[in-house]
């Protein structure tokens, strides 16, 4: 069977940022303590005319441009998100017209908290591997919600990443994948509820760590990998502490994890979180590098993937498409009032 993998990637981070101390000023928290707890200095904020759909379109367009891919050869589109503008009406169908795909495309939106963008990756891999489609695309996109005055607000941010999977022009070959899922309600949002609920400490050991470690360890044991095999390791990043602790629990040196960390600058982009770290690493990876990617979604579950970077990555890096590092520097600060207005959190006449 011919090798398949990520042919191209694209990322989008809105320009606006709000600083932790600006949020803490409003809600009476000690900003130094918050930064120390979460290692989040700023988070990205979507503009008043942006949403999970517009972010998905931008990320997807960049992936297509980077790979020089004819959109009409894409046969599947998956969108993983937990901030859809509609409870019923897919983002994936909007992508079909926004990207100029044909009508013969398998398209669906997926939900598994922050993991769904990577579940779209699994699904795309399946169809491509079976030879049913030439290219499959997944997009993780969110303008994630955090209840004002509550700690999630410090990290819940906005961004999107698109990955295109195929057999032709592969920049990062898929070597292995594994999953670890259980019914663990660490964080959820009921239908109609504006903000999620979460279990504070319960989101740690029983949820994030159990499943991230479970997936990573399970993959390494099943396929015979050691930490030293990997050049980069990218975890889901709800804050700056969790991925570092996960690395130490797996005996993975910190310098392999650091290059993929984005949460300190932009917060937790939910479905784009781990994928954003993956994109950042792909922006600098060299042929032969091995990458372990472990997204996590509350509820709970983790996927684990191993990719080996090929020579093609050099062409992709030179394609003239904005890199994650460039986007991290491209920012305009806003205050809390502008933040509320842009995130459409102020009650207006309908």
């Amino acid at each position: 069977m011919s090798k398949l993998g990520v042919v191209s990637w694209g990322a989008y981070i809105p320009r606006y940022r709000i600083r932790t101390e600006e949020v803490s000023r409003i809600w009476g928290d000690d900003p130094l303590r918050i930064v120390d707890m979460y290692l989040v200095d700023e988070k990205s904020v979507e503009g008043i005319d942006e949403d999970a759909v517009t972010i998905a379109v931008e990320a997807a367009r960049r992936a297509i441009r980077r790979g020089g891919i004819d959109p009409r050869r894409i046969g599947a589109v998956y969108v993983g998100t937990e901030s859809k503008p509609y409870a019923v009406k897919p983002i994936s169908s909007i992508l079909i017209d926004a990207l100029g795909l044909t009508n013969n495309v398998f398209a669906v939106d997926m939900e598994f908290a922050c993991k769904a963008g990577s579940d779209g990756l699994v699904a795309a891999i399946g169809l491509v591997e079976a030879g049913r489609v030439e290219y499959g695309m997944t997009v993780g996109t969110d303008t994630s919600q955090g209840e004002p005055g509550e700690h999630l607000e410090y990290s819940a941010s906005s961004g999107g990443v698109a990955l295109i999977v195929g057999k032709d022009g592969v920049a990062a070959e898929l070597e292995a994948m594994y999953a670890f899922v259980s019914d663990t309600p660490d964080f959820w949002r009921r239908e109609g509820s504006p903000y999620p609920m979460h279990g504070e400490g319960f989101t740690g050991e029983p949820a994030y760590f159990r499943h991230v470690i479970g997936a990573a360890k399970g993959l390494m044991e099943k396929y015979g990998y050691k930490p030293s095999d990997f050049t980069y390791v990218v975890f889901h990043q709800p804050n700056g502490r969790f991925p570092v602790r996960a690395a130490s629990m797996l005996n993975i040196p910190l310098d392999k994890v650091k290059p993929g960390i984005v949460v300190t600058h932009i917060g937790n982009t939910y479905n784009a979180s781990a994928l954003m770290g993956f994109a950042k690493v792909l922006d600098i990876a060299k042929p032969g590098d091995k990458i372990l990617l472990v997204p996590f979604g509350s509820g709970a579950g983790s996927n684990a993937f191993v990719f080996t970077v090929t020579d093609v990555v050099k062409d992709r890096q030179k394609a003239g498409v904005p890199t994650v590092e460039e986007m991290l520097q491209d920012k305009i600060l806003v205050d809390y009032a502008q933040y509320l207005k842009m995130r459409k959190m102020i009650k207006l006449f309908e």
Partner: protein, 134 residues
């Protein structure tokens, strides 16, 4: 229940999403908005997606806005010359107006244009933003 016309939005999606213009096969003139007949007389017009980068020609900052934009004022509205020479008009976003000036490089972005209340459709379309943060 009253809501904005869906067909009016839907049939313009190729233009709103991908700036699909018409190009005359006979003389090469490009029309955006699209037309049915070229000034040269030909009716052989093909779809042509406009380039997505260009330069700002001029802009204004509008304070007296219509109902759909009351919560977004002021609107920065401008004329852009896309690569290849076709001019289009639209909103300029993600930029502080005092830093804009003619010649600034801009790119096409996909954004919300109008939201039909709490229950209606979210309508999207093209806008322009400076390539470099301004």
């Amino acid at each position: 229940m009253k809501h904005e016309s869906v067909p009016i939005y839907w049939r313009n999606i190729p233009q709103y999403y991908r700036l699909v213009a018409k190009r005359c096969k006979k003389c090469g003139t490009i029309y955006f908005p699209p037309v049915a007949k070229c000034k040269c007389g030909s009716v052989e017009l093909e779809d042509y997606e406009l380039p997505r980068e260009g330069r700002l020609l001029e802009y204004t900052v509008l304070y007296q806005v219509g109902t759909d934009f009351l919560k977004q004022k002021p609107l920065v509205l401008g004329l852009v010359e896309l690569d290849g020479g076709v001019k289009v008009s639209g909103q300029i976003v993600d930029a502080r107006p005092e830093r804009l000036k003619p010649g600034v490089k801009v790119e096409v972005v996909f954004r919300r244009v109008v939201v039909d209340g709490k229950h209606g459709l979210v309508m999207y379309g093209y806008k322009f933003r400076p390539v470099e943060r301004l």
